[in-house]
């Protein structure tokens, strides 16, 4: 694997680390399987691209993208909490609706940003090669997000959210408004995913309405890889696991693309992903089995 390809994989892994953290919040903390992310990722890309094209500051564009993502999450939560639609189904409904919303936002399926100024533009040409600048920049944002989410989950408010996911009835008995926790958690999760989409558009030069396909699988794979490698020892470790899991997932794909090494093609990627998640799921059992015997 070449240096550029390696750092490209790290960069993409860091962009999708926002997805992984978002999926961790819904799947693990809230115990709410949320497929909205397949729609909120391209939503973030679409909103940021359209705003940047119309001259809005890229930082502001990314912030608005996060708000849009949060709103998408709130819709899912509303369908589930207020109208009692099964959580998985509620998120699928929002995800499907978002495809049309994203097309409306962009007015066409693909918006190009290749020649536009992005959040990264001021950092190019400062001496570092572009392929270092991008992962470094995204990595700093990821670090910031990890610290914020970690501090939040360790706070009293975060404790209520964790209690909601762990045992909703018990949480309610302790006076926690579990409905509010679901609204909040899914909004934060989708805001992070939308930020991932916004960064994808800005680092790769385009927003495409098809870019949401399989986001949930990628996020889930990252969470599971992280858990397998680091165990579930506390919030911070789990969050770091999400980030590293996401990076490792992309490096695995990059290895599959370096067809000279393994004889794999890009068309084998789906299989590699399935294999990766399966191994990650089986590994802890095997370990336990090994310890028992």
């Amino acid at each position: 694997m070449s240096l550029i390809a390696f750092w490209g994989a790290v960069e993409l892994g860091l962009v999708y680390a926002f997805v992984a953290i978002g999926v961790y919040l819904t799947f693990r903390v809230l115990d709410f399987p949320d497929l909205t992310v397949d729609g909120s990722f391209p939503l973030g890309a679409a909103v940021t691209a359209v705003l940047i094209i119309s001259g809005v500051n890229p930082w502001l564009a990314a912030t608005v993208a996060m708000i849009a993502g949060a709103i998408a999450g709130l819709v899912t939560a509303l369908l589930n909490v207020r109208f009692r639609i099964l959580n998985l189904l509620a998120s699928i409904l929002t995800m499907i609706a978002l495809f049309s919303v994203n097309l409306r936002v962009m007015g066409k399926p693909n918006v190009a940003l290749i020649n536009a100024d992005t959040m990264l533009s001021p950092f190019f040409g400062l001496g570092l090669r572009d392929f270092y600048v991008r992962p470094l920049f995204v990595g700093l944002l990821v670090l910031f997000a990890v610290v914020l989410v970690w501090r939040f989950l360790e706070s009293d408010a975060g404790l209520s959210m964790r209690a909601t996911g762990a045992n909703a009835r018990m949480a309610r008995a302790q006076g926690v408004d579990t409905n509010r926790q679901i609204y909040l958690g899914i909004a934060i999760s989708n805001a992070l995913v939308a930020l991932g989409g916004a960064l994808f558009a800005q680092t790769n030069g385009f927003a495409d309405v098809t870019s949401g396909v399989g986001t949930i699988v990628v996020g889930l794979a990252a969470v599971i890889i992280g858990e397998t490698l680091f165990g579930a020892r506390g919030i911070l470790i789990a969050l770091i696991g999400c980030v590293l899991g996401s990076i490792l997932y992309r490096i695995a794909i990059q290895l599959a693309l370096s067809s000279d090494i393994l004889g794999l093609k890009a068309s084998d990627l789906n299989f590699v992903t399935a294999l990766l998640v399966t191994v990650a799921l089986i590994l802890p059992r095997l370990r336990r089995g090994g310890a028992a015997s």
Binding site: W7, G8, Y16, K108, P109, N204, G205, D208, I253, A266
Partner: protein
């Protein structure tokens, strides 16, 4: 024995530098389907004719992103790191990913309808930088004329497309303008994934006099479903992709994507011979084939006029 080994080693050592002169051409497409694959094969053919033989002095790398822009971005980084002589991205998202991944490796994009709108180049005549390529803007005006010639009494064209594909959406605007000039109206029916295609085709029954499919990756990959609707309901099916005719469409007027690939390959060869991509203007591919399927026409209740058959490049009985 020892000297024999030495001689063998020396021969190997001599042979190795020749190997090192290999050029690498890396090709990527957003998805695998017959037209895009034909474009890739066209590139390879021209390279071979120009003396670049795979396995001898050419390393031809091909990766498909399986319809996923994130994978396209990763393939682009892979190629940028491999540092090949030329990168050939096929389709809009693949081209955008490659163009933002490298500012110095020569890029020859192909099968992109609107290179300016996709921001691949800022000037078609003098692209500058490291990017040039070939547009496959469909000859929509000729399509409308062909429909009128074969079906003079048709009033409404049913446009079957994926509203998520950039090329198809820009072609819809062109079609509406051309149809209006010819006194026809257009109704659209969208399918966002291949499983929806047959349903979208059925939605046109009774509302359109003819079905028209642009160079749309989603519709073309599920064309058999469209063909069965066309035959059941006697709704003549025209396509912009000529490979679709042998799969059951009535007629197509369009680029033979092997030819588009060949024209792309010619640009690649010029760059391998030392020309700068920035000096090579971006062109719309030339040459269209008219392909007619008489058996399909009969099933859809259409008799193709002799005048059309006479100038067809290929007639399938």
């Amino acid at each position: 024995m020892r000297s024999l080994l030495l001689a063998a080693a020396a021969t190997l050592a001599l042979a190795l530098p020749a190997q090192a002169e290999n050029v690498t051409v890396s090709v990527t497409a957003i998805v695998e389907h017959p037209a895009l694959d034909a474009a890739r094969d066209g590139v390879r053919e021209v390279l071979e004719e120009a003396g670049y033989k795979e396995g001898e002095n050419l390393k031809f790398v091909y990766e498909s992103a399986q319809g996923n822009p994130a994978t396209a971005a990763q393939i682009a980084r892979q190629f940028a790191g491999d540092d090949p002589a030329v990168i050939v991205p096929i389709s809009t998202p693949s081209a955008q990913a490659v163009v933002s991944a490298t500012k110095d490796i020569p890029v020859v994009f192909t099968a992109v309808s609107d290179p300016l709108g996709a921001q691949l180049v800022t000037d078609m005549e003098k692209p500058g930088g490291n990017v040039t390529g070939l547009s496959d803007m469909s000859p929509v005006a000729d399509h409308v004329a062909l429909i009128k010639e074969i079906l003079p009494e048709a009033k409404t064209i049913g446009y079957l497309y994926n509203s998520g594909e950039a090329n198809s959406v820009s072609l819809l605007d062109v079609l509406k303008a051309e149809a209006e000039k010819a006194g026809l109206s257009v109704i659209e029916s969208a399918a966002i994934k291949s499983a929806d295609v047959q349903g979208a085709a059925r939605a046109l029954i009774g509302r359109a006099d003819v079905m028209y499919v642009p160079t749309d990756n989603t519709i073309v990959s599920a064309l058999e479903g469209v063909v069965s609707v066309a035959e059941e309901s006697k709704l003549p099916l025209f396509t912009a992709d000529t490979d679709s005719v042998s799969r059951g469409a009535l007629a197509a007027l369009g680029f033979n994507y092997k030819d588009v690939g060949r024209q792309t390959g010619e640009i690649v060869v010029r760059i391998l011979k030392g020309e700068k991509p920035g000096d090579i203007p971006v062109r719309v591919a030339v040459g269209t084939d008219l392909v007619i399927n008489k058996a399909a026409a009969a099933k859809m209740g259409v008799t193709v006029p002799e005048s059309v058959l006479a100038r067809a490049t290929n007639v399938i009985e």
